[in-house]
Symmetry: C2
Subunit: 424 residues, 2 copies
């Protein structure tokens, strides 16, 4: 008998018919002799609807209220799923973040899990029931509802799996697993049977929407095996775990079109200026990704960084206010960028990856706007309209192409992004 | 400085524009020097939408899940209202039933408030804020969310007002106050400036949708003054309180088309049979209203009762199962009925009300299907299609008509009922 935590995202529970399907799948899992705990996101577009009502009322809503508002989405989907399971004759109970004992810090909209107390969930599965847990939410020390930010439901699933000592944390989505590249952009991509936490983490950080980075980080820290698989097929997906197999140089390619590049021009080249700049951004909760500092001319430098498009208004406001203090000239935003990242643990022991990547892009006349590296990742920023071409030529150059072509036609990066941003 | 609890129903917060209006009204109330606590219902049709999704999944959902599901409606409206108030520059915080300290018993879907702990609400208003409390919900001793059933939000408002020692509990709806009869059915009805708890209670019990009976009961018990008024005008409404003024014989007429009449035919005339019958109905949580026992012929009697239409399936199932034990013949349901009730504390000291009512109905050729009385109420059951005529002729006969005619055209009882049943 295995204990399985199964997480279903918003697309999988978007309609009552799909909720029925999920219920049937969970009941089948249980009838095969497993103990089952489900974690769910909000139904389809619920979150968007709530956000748009909120925007009509207050462009800067108090974070505490926003969290409470958004947390209702999962409360609806979890109760409906529990009802659907009961309708199949199997005992089920739903649990809010509070009832599932998911204690977080007090940072609204981006809370971090600090502890999990699974007492009520354990009782439910020992009573031969399926426990259904609301993803994305917890409570802080004041008893106020917090939400975990994007990817929160995946993180809830991994945290609950860890707390319960589950054998596997299955994360269901609308893709079959982790691919060498997004098959909607790169038709020759193929599915990986397994991937290491490190590679998965870099792919997630670099924009692969399959699994959320925080969830993978959590899984790595506590050694929870994640099984990324499709909600719409029985096919096995990709296992994310501590892997000992021989590493290929490059495991996969991720791309990300959700960031923008912000440049602060004419910054005096004085010690501490960059520190002050990023301190202010951090205080404004802007997630800075890549940082590029240009060479100083006349004692003036350009400092560029990339950040999520959603943070750009905050970033710009904070920096505009800071310009006089820094003695800098202006803040410039370029929204037409994409980041393409090569990821592979094997990269550490294989010199020449950067050289090969740059020459491949040059051959295809793709300009590189910025570069950033880690021991197992190489990211380049290119124009948004060249994103698909860059992914495809790098995928070919690093020998990852397969013969068969993914059945969906390749989508534009924007369509892919739109699909990706639906989930939490 | 007065402390005012202001309750707004689902119609008043049905859209973001209406939520803005409510926010403005609350801020105005506060700027006039009052401390303000708002209690809200779910937005417009939210509850119906949730119920219909639930019905698609499970015709008999577990009550615990149902309560959790429905409670999300108020969590959405309360957070949106708090955001709208903040947008006007006034501090506001929303509180779930749990956070507002509304402790109930464990009867899901029909929970009763057992205690209120206003600590967090008090802190919010002492911090110069407007507290926004979710109506309709509380928590039981297990920490599970309970809902208070129909009229729950009014009850929440009165309970919170009592707990805070509020000066007034204003209950806003889409009518201007309490009328001598429903002005949509009886165009010559007029608004009452004040009404006693007893009269209000009987009117509510008899189907007046303006205030919910449980809320009035609670208010009477703890002497909370209710001010029933319109969300769409500044006009004062009706005060419900301990009144010492001279009583008119009849205060008002209520009607109710939401009940059905159930008849158990051929019940053996044995001691204890009726007791057993109503014991079973009570165990099934059927709210029995009027009871009519026919004369026994051949040792067999008919026992009829009225109950809410929503309980009729439960009632019929329970009684069908009981027929063999009782030795009774069959269960018959008549859905085409309406109850019309004359209410007035003055009735106690005025004989002849019944005689006058019966002769008035007879003059208008309206058949009486059943009669029930209390010291201050006389109810008759008539055919549903004769309901409006019965209300109108009794209103005239007891001298309550006014010259001016209520501006809305008279609606059919079904339309009125549909309007009435929207709210909680």
């Amino acid at each position: 008998m295995s204990l399985i935590v199964a997480k279903f995202g918003g697309t999988s529970v978007a309609t009552t018919d799909r909720i029925k399907n999920v219920a049937q799948r969970l009941v089948r899992m249980k009838n095969e002799g497993n103990q089952v705990v489900a974690v769910v996101s909000a139904m389809g577009k619920t979150t968007d609807d709530l956000v748009s009502m909120c925007e009509a009322l207050n462009p800067n809503p108090p974070a505490r209220e926003m969290d409470r508002l958004l947390s209702t989405g999962e409360q609806v989907s979890m109760t409906l799923l529990a009802m659907a399971i009961e309708a199949l004759g199997v005992h089920a109970m739903s649990f809010t973040g509070r009832q599932a004992g998911i204690q977080t810090d007090g940072i609204h909209e981006k809370a971090k899990i600090v502890s999990v107390d699974n007492e009520r969930i354990m009782k439910c599965i020992h009573d031969d029931g399926i426990a259904v847990v609301a993803g994305f939410q917890g409570i802080d020390h004041n008893g106020d509802i917090t939400t975990l930010g994007r990817g929160g439901s995946d993180t809830t699933a991994v945290a609950v799996a860890y707390g319960l000592g589950a054998d596997e944390c299955q994360i269901f989505s609308d893709v079959v697993g982790v691919y060498t590249a997004d098959p909607r952009v790169c038709p020759h991509a193929h599915k990986l049977d397994e991937i290491s936490y490190d590679d998965m983490l870099e792919l997630s950080a670099a924009g692969s929407g399959v699994l959320q980075m925080r969830a993978v980080e959590f899984a790595r820290k506590y050694n929870v095996v994640i099984h990324s698989r499709s909600a719409f097929s029985e096919e096995p997906g990709t296992l994310v775990k501590e892997t000992t197999m021989e590493k290929s140089v490059i495991t996969g390619i991720a791309h990300d079109t959700s960031e923008v590049k912000v440049t602060v021009r004419g910054v005096p080249d004085i010690t501490g200026v960059a520190g002050r700049l990023f301190q202010v951004l951090s205080a404004s909760n802007v997630s800075v990704d890549m940082i590029i500092q240009g060479t100083a001319a006349d004692g003036l430098a350009d400092i560029s960084f990339t950040c999520p498009a959603k943070d750009v208004a905050t970033a710009k406001a904070a920096l505009d206010e800071l310009l006089p203090e820094l003695g800098a000239q202006e803040v410039y935003v370029n929204e037409n960028i994409a980041k393409v990242s090569l990821v592979g643990t094997g990269m550490k022991s294989s010199p020449g990856v950067a050289a090969k990547a740059f020459s491949t892009l040059a051959e295809h006349e793709i300009s590189i706007l910025a570069i950033s590296t880690s021991p197992i990742r190489l990211s380049v920023v290119v124009g948004k309209d060249e994103c698909a071409k860059a992914v495809q030529c790098l995928h070919t150059a690093f020998g990852m192409d397969v013969e068969e072509i993914f059945e969906e036609n390749a989508l534009s990066p924007e369509e892919v992004e739109a699909k990706k941003n639906k989930g939490r």
